[in-house]
Structures are given as C-alpha cells and as structure tokens.
C-alpha cells in the first residue's frame, strides 16, 4: 500500500499545508510518495524530498502545470493514481479545485476535508459547517481525500532524503488558459498557517480602522482576518474572511476584535488553541467560546494592547 500526496506550491516554495497532508498520510500508514506538478519547480521537489517520512518524490515539470489548472493536472494525477491506495491533497483552493476532477476520472467517491484518520478506510470530516462531525468509511478501491491542514500537526520539513524521479507530463488539455492573478501582497504570515490571527468584525466600523489591527498584528507577527459581516460591509477583502464560507483557521492564539460571534464565524475559528474576544457588548456570543474575554471599547483596548506588548 502506498499513498500519493499532491504537493501544494507556487513553483518556488513548498507550501506548509503539504507537511500537514503528509502527516495525515503517516496516520494512514504506508509508503508515502509526493507528486510535484509545476513548471520550473525543481526547488519545490528538493524541499519535498526533505520531508521526514517521504519515500519518493515524483516531479512533472512542464508548462502545462505552471498554474495547476484542473483540466491539465487531473489527468496526470488520475493516471498515476492506479498505483496507490490513497491520493491525498491539501484542502486548499487548488486541492479543492482539481481533486474532485481526479476522483470522477477514476470513478470513485471523494472524501472532503478530513480532520482525523481513524483507520486506513475510516475518516472524520466536518459537515454542516462543523456543527456535526461525520465518521465515514470508504470502500473505494482508491481513496481520494482532501485534508484540512489545520487538523494535523505538520510532518517535519527536514530530515528526509527521498529519491526524486522525473515524470513525463500529459501536456495541455487545451480547454483552459491562465490569464493572470492578483495576489494580496503582504509581509504578514498567511492566514491559514499563522500562529497568531487577529480578526476584525463590524465593530471596526470602517476599512481604515483595520489599521489598528495591522499595527497590533505587526507587533505579534500575526495574520489579519475578518468576519463575514466586515467583508460584506466592505471593510476587508473576501480573502481575509474567516468562517464557514471563508477560511478555516486554528492558530495558537486567535484575537476576535469587534466580532459578535455568528455561528458562521465560529465555524471558521473555534478550533484555535486560545481565543481572546474584545467586544463592548458583554452579551456577544463570541464570549461563550473565548478563553479570555475583555468587555471594552476596541478603539481604546486595541491601541493599549499594542502598547503593552
């Protein structure tokens, strides 16, 4: 039994979520191979070969995989998959995009966003936005699975010495073309992998006031998120949204500022290790999940917190 893990990367750097996905594969048990599909991605393959517990790295390096377009990547993975018992990818927007296409090409059901491995064929996954946890058993000949990275402690990124093998690619499917991308440029850590996350809600009252959170974030080396209410109000872009319909985060420290705590927001952050809530409404539901609650005007408390750190 061998497990194929699909690496998440940007052709230059191996994304941390790959390490969490390898950790999930280790829980299943078996030889672990990592596929790096990209263009000019040799550095990523070398990084993948150093992950503890990885036996082999397969590299498909060609222009068709430069942006991991599902139409191009899915046939490559499906062709490889027949030699494996499990195919795992991080539940990133990339993994969510291409992996169901792989599953359908293989004519197997997929398990999405597992948060625990019970055995080689049984997994736990959240449903109803995390309001219920289903234990699901799969009898599929190849188990195709996306992994919620925050639910698994990362495998060590150093210490491994896997062999690297080049693969012939399957070329362009000719159905889709990459036009461009706009990535938010930031010196702050990425939201889903940050150790500390500070999120703002409607209580911030404006987009400009998010500067308060950025100042605090810079002190703590934190990422900044937002509630859906703040996104809907135009205070923050959608890719900052933490919640059921946005990003799922589980940092060591989550600071919710001016967030009331709607179910949909809690679904995205309630697995954080320590939760701090700052809100002037003592009755806000966020206090029911917070380890430390501070009933205060955020416009006074946040600058003071920044000063005291």
């Amino acid at each position: 039994m061998a497990i194929l893990v699909i690496a998440e990367h940007d052709n230059a750097v191996l994304a941390a979520a790959t390490l969490n996905t390898v950790a999930a594969a280790q829980r299943i048990g078996g030889d672990i191979h990592v596929l790096v599909a990209g263009a000019g991605c040799a550095a990523v393959a070398e990084a993948a070969a150093k992950i503890a517990g990885v036996a082999k790295v397969l590299v498909a390096d060609e222009a068709a995989y430069a942006h991991r377009l599902a139409e191009n990547v899915a046939p490559l993975i499906a062709k490889l998959a027949s030699g494996y018992s499990h195919v795992l990818a991080p539940a990133s927007t990339n993994g969510k995009n291409y992996l169901p296409r792989v599953a359908a090409l293989l004519d197997v059901d997929q398990l999405s966003e597992i948060v625990a491995v019970e055995s080689a064929d049984t997994f736990k996954r959240p449903i109803y936005a995390g309001n219920a946890i289903a234990t699901v058993q799969s009898s599929a000949p190849i188990k195709v699975i996306t992994v919620r990275a925050t639910a698994f402690d990362a495998a060590a990124g150093e210490g491994g010495s896997a062999s690297i093998e080049a693969l012939a690619g399957a070329g362009e499917a000719g159905k889709s073309r990459f036009v461009g991308e706009e990535l938010a440029k930031s010196d702050r850590p990425e939201l889903t992998s940050a150790k500390v996350v500070i999120s703002g809600g409607r209580g911030l009252q404006s987009g400009e006031n998010f500067q308060l959170l950025y100042a605090l974030a810079d002190k703590l080396g934190a990422a900044v998120g937002a509630s859906r209410a703040a996104v809907d109000a135009g205070f923050a872009p959608n890719d900052m949204q933490v919640g059921q319909t946005g990003k799922i985060v589980a940092p060591d420290l989550y600071i919710a500022v001016g967030i009331s705590g709607a179910i949909q927001h809690l679904a995205g952050m309630k697995d954080s290790k320590v939760i701090v809530a700052i809100n002037k409404d003592a009755e806000a539901p966020i206090f029911q999940v917070a380890d430390y609650g501070l009933v205060a005007d955020l416009f006074e408390a946040v600058p003071e917190l920044e000063k005291q750190l």
């Binding site: 309001n131 599929a140 159905k175 939760i275």
Partner: protein, 249 residues
C-alpha cells in the same frame, strides 16, 4: 446559449442543526429547508446572463426528494424557464449527483452549467468539478466574476491569497463563490407565474445512472463543545494571562 443551473434543497442556513441522539445523522424533522445559498447565486448569475441577452434559456435541475420541487419553483420564480427534478429519497453522494447531471447535460446540451461551489449540508465541494470531469468540459470553480466573450468564458476565481483569472473553452462548468452576485428576491407576480412553468420529474433509473456509493456514514457526532473562559478586567490583565497562563505570547 442554453444555461443549466443545478440547485439543491438543504437545511436553511439560519438553522442551527442538532445531531440525533442515536448518532445516525442530524435531525431534519420540522426544520426549515431552503435553496442552498451558493445555488441561489448560481440561479441569479444565469438570470443576469439572460437579462444581458447572452443566455437564451435557463433550465434548473435538482436531485432530491419530491419536496425539492419547492426549490425548483423558487428558481423558476427567479427567472429560470423550466425545471427538471431527478427524484430520489436517497441521500446521494456528489459523484452520483454528478453522473445524474451528466445525463441531463447529454440531453439538454447546455453551453454553460452553473452550480454552487458547495452545499451547506454535506460541505463536499465536489459536484461541479466531477461534472466537469465526466463531461470533459473546462471548470471555473469558486467564481467571483463571469464574462462570456464569443466562444470563450472569462472567469475570475477566488483562490487562497487573491484572485485568479482563467479563460475557458465553452461549453464549461462554473461553480459560484459568495461575491459573484447578490441574489434577488422573487416577486409575488413572478412566484405566481412560476407555478405555470414546466417542471418535469424523472427518476435516476430513467436516466440509466447507478447511484451506488462507496462511502458509508458510520456515525455523526456533535463537535466538542468549547467552554467559555473568563472575563478579564483590563488590557493589563489580558496581557498577563496570555503571557503567564496561556503562554501564547
């Protein structure tokens, strides 16, 4: 061009679901059901394409129990021209649903299929991508902007860290993300008119599709409850607790 929109009947997004005592699933008895929010966005996008003169006909399709006719009537009231219900009382997996939709695509030959990115009950986020695989069409998932330009489709996608723009060959599958549009409400006259629009019902067997699944839900549990902690009196106390008690800063 013809546009096919898939809609799913799910528990209303405002309902806090409860797990059944026997752990066999969540309790859906007497719970308000609605159209999946991402499917509402899909219907709205199709209607806007029709208003722009790009879409010529909108066919709404649902896979579900007889009551899913309600959600199809809603789609008709919002602007779909006709509807197809693939009726089944079984809870089907995404692959089975994708196979059923593929059979409808084969019959209807739409140029564009729009689905929600995920349903808020099973949270699978699979059906659109699987349908794209089965039809061999291009996929524009998590779309925040869709533009038809000749025989191509320009799709702006919500990806980790920002936005990505793709150009897809038509026919194509699009799955909707939250920012694609803000769905309208159905007006009363349109709700009345929708009652007269055609709604056809077929069974999975009529489409020659096997809906067997390899996934078995062994149990469904409530997530671990988080206990409320303490209230601190000041910023200084908060900093002290975070440093010395929680040791996270």
């Amino acid at each position: 061009m013809k546009v096919l929109v898939a809609v799913k009947r799910v528990v209303d997004y405002n309902v806090k679901v409860r797990v059944k005592a026997d752990h066999s699933g969540v309790d859906l008895a007497n719970v308000k059901m609605s159209m999946n929010p991402f499917c509402e966005i899909a219907v709205e996008e199709a209607v806007r394409l029709k208003e722009k003169g790009i879409a010529s006909e909108i066919v709404a399709v649902s896979v579900g129990p007889a009551q899913a006719q309600e959600q199809l009537r809603t789609a008709l009231a919002l602007g779909a021209d006709r509807a197809i219900l693939i009726e089944t009382d079984e809870e089907l997996g995404s692959l089975a649903v994708a196979k059923l939709l593929k059979a409808v695509v084969d019959q209807e030959q739409p140029q564009l299929v729009i689905t929600g990115k995920q349903a808020i009950d099973s949270d699978n986020n699979q059906t659109g991508q699987m349908l794209a695989a089965l039809t061999g069409y291009a996929q524009g998932t998590f779309a925040s902007k869709v533009e038809v330009a000749g025989d191509k489709l320009k799709v702006v996608r919500e990806i980790d860290g920002g936005l990505q723009t793709l150009e897809l060959a038509l026919p194509a599958i699009v799955t909707t993300d939250l920012r694609l549009n803000e769905p309208r409400y159905a007006s009363l006259p349109n709700i009345m008119k929708a009652k007269k629009k055609p709604l056809e019902t077929v069974k999975p067997a009529d489409l020659g599709v096997s809906v067997a699944s390899t996934l078995k839900v062994l149990k469904v549990e409530a997530p671990a409850e988080r206990q409320a902690g303490i209230k601190v009196g000041s910023v200084a106390e908060l900093v002290e607790k975070l440093k010395n008690e929680a040791k996270v800063i």
